[in-house]
Symmetry: C2
Subunit: 174 residues, 2 copies
DNA sequence: GGATATTGCTCAGTATGCTGACTATCAGTA
DNA sequence: TACTGATAGTCAGCATACTGAGCAATATCC
């Protein structure tokens, strides 16, 4: 195999590559992906252990509907930073599971008003310990102080980058 | 709407809910998802600005193939913590773009040996500034010291949770 | 050597997430 | 009121990620 490294002097190239690409596993983007990957796996495992079948995304949507009864899909999306095209499918599944309801709005015939069902409320209540346990587990390698610091730094980085994704977090517009 | 809160005394319940569910947006799992969401958006935007069409996952795979010529798919998956079923599609697309090659292994007829093409090498080289710029942007809200600390804490949390996802990071088995 | 277990890869199915396009509706304005 | 622009939601299409199943080949153990 002929590589560029054969055409230049070795130490110079090694140094250059060391500086430029580094280890892929040490880049913030990779760490973000990996932490999220573990977080989702832990969430699903804890929730499944508790006897439920709910994804992190579905949980967040359901909890937000409960806290803001009658909200529309775009508002929900803004409150938890989902893309509006993703919300459609998530709500479909919550409705199909009988945990939420989607009704046409009378104020605005374009909009759908979302409500949690009794079954949804029951599920949220029973699932809460598993959700909290999952949050603890995903910070399990850190001391309490480190966990707090990680969350503070994530919040700060996220706040600065909020507008950079297609689905930024939006304040409630009461 | 009849809720549990109507059946118990209000302050007690408010405190309980405050303690139990908190704001969904403040949970580690949500922060993980959000940070990753921004990281991917920034990566894609920077790379597109540079005139390329490569996802974070494809980039990581290509860079790892370059650093470990001839490796098989399972080893690649382990090196960057992908699920082996995900790798199949990622390699498909790298091959289809002409950036990598997949050859049957002579040692083990089950395995496929992966190689980067000249075109792949050229792409990696030209794309590197955009990738690095993306890493800077996603930490843009943090000081240099905070960025370092965030990465340290992420590495630590990830190391502790490595085995909890279906696709843990695996050391090179040379 | 032969049964058994393991491994490398793929595939079908499901659930995020995104881009871009489209419909229906609403809001503001000339 | 008619026009224009913005907004709510959906859809098609693509790319991760995962579960679970299956096939082919290799390793291991008796």
């Amino acid at each position: 195999m002929l590589t560029i490294s054969m055409l230049v002097n070795e130490p110079a190239l090694a140094a250059l590559e060391e500086n430029s690409v580094k280890d892929n596993n040490d880049m913030p983007g990779h760490l973000a992906r990996r932490f999220q990957q573990i977080a989702v796996a832990v969430f699903l495992a804890e929730v499944a252990d508790a006897g439920f079948d709910l994804t992190p995304v579905q949980y967040a949507a359901l909890a937000t509907i409960k806290a803001n009864p009658g909200l529309d899909q775009v508002t929900l999306a803004g409150l938890i930073a989902y893309d509006r095209t993703t919300i459609t499918g998530v709500i479909d599944r919550l409705v199909q599971k009988g945990l939420a309801e989607r009704r046409a709005s009378s104020r605005d015939r374009r909009a759908r008003e979302l409500e949690i069902t009794d079954e949804g409320r029951r599920t949220l209540r029973k699932i809460t310990p598993a959700v909290e346990s999952a949050q603890r587990i995903m910070l399990g390698g850190l001391s309490a102080k480190e966990g707090e610091e990680l969350m503070r730094l994530l919040r700060k980085a996220i706040a600065a980058g909020n507008e950079l994704s297609r689905a930024p977090l939006r304040d409630v517009q009461v």
